[in-house]
């Protein structure tokens, strides 16, 4: 049902062009008929007003539906809503009056002038809601050389991360890109500007948003970390959100860096949160901080239901890992007899499977042909299966694998060459496998940040 409402709402930008055109036409005609040459237009007026009013009312209804979807600037939305409703009311009144022939004298002005004003006001706010407040003025301002606020700032990759000034080179670009569209010098939501260190530290009309040294107490962080449904969440729903790494970065700067504008990366102790900074790649959204449940940044359509059903009929447990993504968790714990024959059933889901627990099942190296084709696989459990070095070769294309469990398998040192290519691995379990201790050491050297566990002796 929600989706139907959303669909109705989505027709609003379409429908709204009708009252704009028709009502402006009607208002213009009211003025034109004063000129003798255009007196022939008089009979057309009632129908024009009526159609215009009707389309305005329908647009309002669709507008309500669109409002339910959320994600619009509250203040602007209110102006737009009420001017739109006023427009519908006025045009309805005009259409009633027009029934009795063309509007007489002064009544004409009382109706026509507001018509032009309201259409402009409602229309402009509608456009701003959709395209942003600066949409209209941006090109002109660009002509005059004034920099438009909230533009995407080109983040120059910092050559030497260690020497980067944390605020200027890392934190400020994030704040400008994600926050300054509404918190800049000309548009100061809540009285807050974030495009400038002084103003950021000063805060807004509710006080400071930064508490140096205490990220958990800073309003800035609190708002970013609110749940999606919370009204106070920043950035607001529907606007581009901060990525997990950007949030970690700001928290680190507030905590370790004590919100200093001068401190460089090298002067602070790098915690595991911000290890990605030291991996050489400063662009946010690249490598995830280790330990974070990482999903490849792809959007998938929902997995084919028949494929899921076919597997569930065989006792396989399949669940989505999160409401927000279509990735699947496939668990063979109830099907120890799941063998290579049934593995073919996994093929239709190969894009969707991200966690696969095949421990203690009956699969062999054959099934690894299929498993090796799962591009988005992040966790793979193969403990207590009969897989061997031959099968591991088939996993070479799993670019996102972070966890691999080979406890009690016949995998040995021959697989080191393949495993060391899986640079995304963070946790590898080799207890009771045939990988030697020196082989494990090689893997620790080749893959930075990996935890290779060979068990307790």
């Amino acid at each position: 049902m929600d989706q139907l409402i959303f669909f109705l709402g989505r027709t609003h930008p379409l429908l709204v062009h009708l009252p704009i055109g028709i009502l402006l036409m009607a208002a213009s005609m009211e003025l034109l008929v004063l000129v003798r040459r255009f007196a022939y237009l008089k009979p057309a007026l009632p129908i024009t007003w009526r159609v215009g009013a009707a389309s305005a009312v329908v647009s309002c209804v669709a507008g309500f539906a669109l409002k339910q979807e959320g994600g619009y600037d509250e203040e602007m939305l209110l102006y737009h809503q009420w001017s739109g409703i006023a427009l519908a009311l006025f045009s309805s009144v005009a259409s009633v009056l027009s029934q009795k022939g063309a509007l007489l004298g002064k009544i004409r002005l009382i109706v026509v002038v507001p018509m032009f004003i309201l259409t402009t006001v409602a229309g402009h706010y509608g456009g701003s809601l959709t395209h942003g407040g600066e949409f209209l003025g941006e090109p002109i301002l660009a002509l005059t050389g004034v920099e438009s606020k909230g533009a995407v700032v080109e983040r120059k990759p910092v050559q030497d991360t260690a020497q980067a000034v944390v605020y200027r080179d890392l934190v400020e670009p994030v704040l400008i890109e994600k926050c300054s569209r509404c918190h800049n010098s000309s548009k100061r939501k809540g009285g807050l500007r974030v495009d400038d260190y002084q103003h950021l530290m000063k805060g807004g009309k509710n006080g400071a948003v930064i508490v140096a040294g205490a990220p958990s107490q800073s309003e800035l962080i609190r708002r970013i970390m609110l749940g999606d449904d919370d009204k106070e969440k920043m950035p607001p729903r529907g606007k581009p959100q901060l990525t997990a790494q950007e949030l970690q970065l700001i928290r680190w700067w507030l905590g370790e860096g004590k919100a200093s504008s001068e401190v460089r990366v090298a002067e602070l102790s790098g915690t595991s949160d911000v290890a990605f900074l030291f991996s050489g790649n400063v662009h946010a959204g690249a490598e995830p901080p280790p330990g974070e449940a990482f999903f490849p940044e792809v959007t998938l359509s929902p997995a084919p239901a028949e494929a899921i059903d076919a597997l569930e009929e065989n006792g396989v447990i399949i669940k989505k890992v999160s409401d927000d993504a279509e990735f699947l968790f496939v668990n063979l714990v109830n099907v120890p007899e799941f063998g290579d024959g049934l593995a073919a059933l996994l093929l239709p889901l190969k894009e969707h499977v991200t966690w696969l627990k095949a421990g203690k099942s009956s699969i062999t190296d054959e099934s690894l042909r299929i498993i090796g084709q799962m591009p988005n696989l992040t966790r793979l459990n193969l403990e207590y299966t009969s897989v061997s070095d031959e099968g591991i070769l088939r996993l070479k294309d799993l670019k996102h694998l972070t966890y691999l469990n080979l406890v009690n398998t016949r995998v040995g040192d021959q697989s080191i060459a393949v495993l060391q290519q899986l640079k995304s691995l963070r946790a590898l379990y080799l207890w009771n496998s045939e990988v030697s201790l020196s082989g494990a050491e090689v893997l620790r050297q080749k893959i930075p940040g990996i935890d290779v566990n060979t068990g307790v002796k």
Partner: protein, 478 residues
């Protein structure tokens, strides 16, 4: 009779009709003018919006309340002030239990045991827990836990269900309700009981009860020994096929009754029978430790071969974790040392030291610690003053809710960390307090559940595990 059934049908369809009517145009317009809290929302919401870091929880609950001063919270100041009165400035009006309120003096009792620091985190561990001292780098200690409740029943009920008065679903039930089971042959919530000393504080079935949630979410107590679940096995003369036919017939009758009376308990009963049937096969298989190699028993300690001990339960916990049981709760009774503490706590510590650490190491080497959360702790702390006569080698400690220590280990938790600080008297918290509700919120967060979203409407209001409080402790999360 017939009229009554028709009535119920009518009522239900009226309810559903009104529910649908809420989507009329008029309601739509009106709803935008109502404050958000009054807007109709579907009942029984179970959203899982986050991504889970862990798939299972093993809660090693130390019932009776282990003394933090003898385990993980080292306070040399008490040694300096041995025998002196607890300063009023420190006590600050803290209420006392009926047991020590009668005392005329509250002499500070330093621990009879030595402490040392270990690992990268420089965590303090007493000599009573040598195995723990070797794995501190896997553990995240929270020294600043606090609660309001000063007696066992309300406090244990509080930490398990979120409210001091019983009747609400326990943590495991909420988790089972929110996430379901990853293994359909075993219950999602399993409870294992053990005691280090006899005659200590009792436990109640309400602590693992499903409260008002559907009864399929209740904790199932597995006993150790030959018959883990009472009355699970078929009686003599009934084989599995006969049982299956009986269950099918019963299910069809129950379903017919369900259609007539729309009683949700009937559905729960059908599910329970089906689960019991599956458990007849899965439980013996899962809990069979006869094939475990000797080195495993050696790792968990000598008691692990004795069914019913904490060590044996830890081994079972690992096996249940391997089978993807969602919430495994162990209760170990015997920590309530009001008197004779130094002697008794040695017994208790010995019974848990090796098995708890073995469990964590065993999970780690099998690759399970990555997505399992292990919690170790009790319901409150113990007082720094002696209950009863204070002697150098003998003293007791009363209950103390204002600070206590637990530890966490596993997926999503920062290893090798000590969070929160108590004052020099281990009486008040000076840094980073973590309330019981905050702990519950954090556990749910790691499971991918927003503790404010997992609610159940009962008796007209929505309930959740964390009641009306609880904030996720972000600083201990990876």
């Amino acid at each position: 009779m017939k009229d009554l059934r028709d009535d119920i049908h009518d009522q239900l369809s009226r309810r559903t009709f009104l529910g649908q009517a809420g989507l009329g145009l008029g309601a739509m317009a009106l709803s935008s003018l109502l404050p958000a809290t009054l807007r109709a929302e579907p009942t029984q919401e179970k959203k899982v919006p986050l991504v889970r870091k862990i798939n299972r929880v093993i809660y090693l609950f130390q019932s009776g309340a282990p003394s933090q001063l003898e385990t993980f919270d080292y306070k040399p100041k008490l040694e300096q002030m041995w025998g002196q009165e607890l300063p009023e400035s420190v006590r600050n009006g803290q209420r006392l239990t009926g047991m020590s309120s009668g005392q005329r003096s509250f002499p500070l009792a330093a621990s009879a045991f030595r402490f040392a620091q270990y690992g990268r985190s420089r965590a303090w561990v007493s000599e009573l827990l040598p195995h723990h001292s070797r794995i501190v780098d896997e553990l995240c200690f929270i020294r600043s836990m606090h609660t309001e409740h000063i007696n066992h029943d309300p406090a244990v009920t509080f930490i398990q269900t979120g409210n001091q008065i019983g009747g609400r679903p326990s943590m495991g039930s909420w988790v089972s309700y929110g996430l379901g089971s990853d293994n359909k042959d075993l219950p999602a919530f399993v409870v294992l009981l053990s005691r280090g000393r006899g005659g200590d504080q009792p436990l109640y079935a309400k602590l693992w009860s499903n409260g008002f949630l559907p009864s399929s979410h209740q904790g199932v107590v597995f006993r150790s020994g030959e018959d883990p679940v009472f009355y699970l096995n078929n009686p003599d003369g009934i084989d599995r096929t006969t049982r299956r036919r009986m269950l099918d017939a019963l299910a069809s009758m129950n379903t017919a009754q369900q259609d007539n009376s729309l009683d949700p308990v009937i559905n729960g009963r059908i599910e329970q029978y089906e689960m019991a049937y599956r458990m007849q096969a899965s439980v013996p298989r899962t809990l069979d430790i006869s094939k475990e190699p000797d080195y495993v028993f050696d790792m968990y300690g000598p008691e692990s071969r004795i069914p019913g001990t904490f060590a044996a339960n830890c081994l079972l916990a690992r096996k249940l974790a391997e089978s993807d049981v969602r919430f495994i709760q162990l209760y170990h009774q015997g920590w309530d040392q009001h008197g004779n503490l130094p002697a008794d706590i040695q017994i208790m510590a010995k019974s848990v030291d090796q098995p708890s650490t073995a469990l964590i190491r065993d999970l780690k080497q099998r690759g399970l610690l990555d997505d399992t959360l292990v919690i170790w702790g009790g319901e409150f702390g113990r007082t720094n003053y002696s209950q009863g006569k204070l002697k150098r080698d003998n003293y007791g400690r009363d209950h103390h809710p204002r600070c206590f220590t637990i530890y966490l280990a596993g997926g999503g938790i920062r290893p090798g960390m000590v969070y929160g600080e108590t004052d020099d008297f281990s009486y008040n918290i000076v840094k980073d307090p973590v309330h019981v509700h905050d702990l519950q919120a954090t556990i749910l967060h790691l499971l991918g559940i927003d503790h404010e979203q997992l609610t159940y409407k009962f008796q007209g209001r929505r309930y959740r595990l964390t009641d009306v409080a609880g904030k996720v402790v972000q600083d201990i999360l990876v």
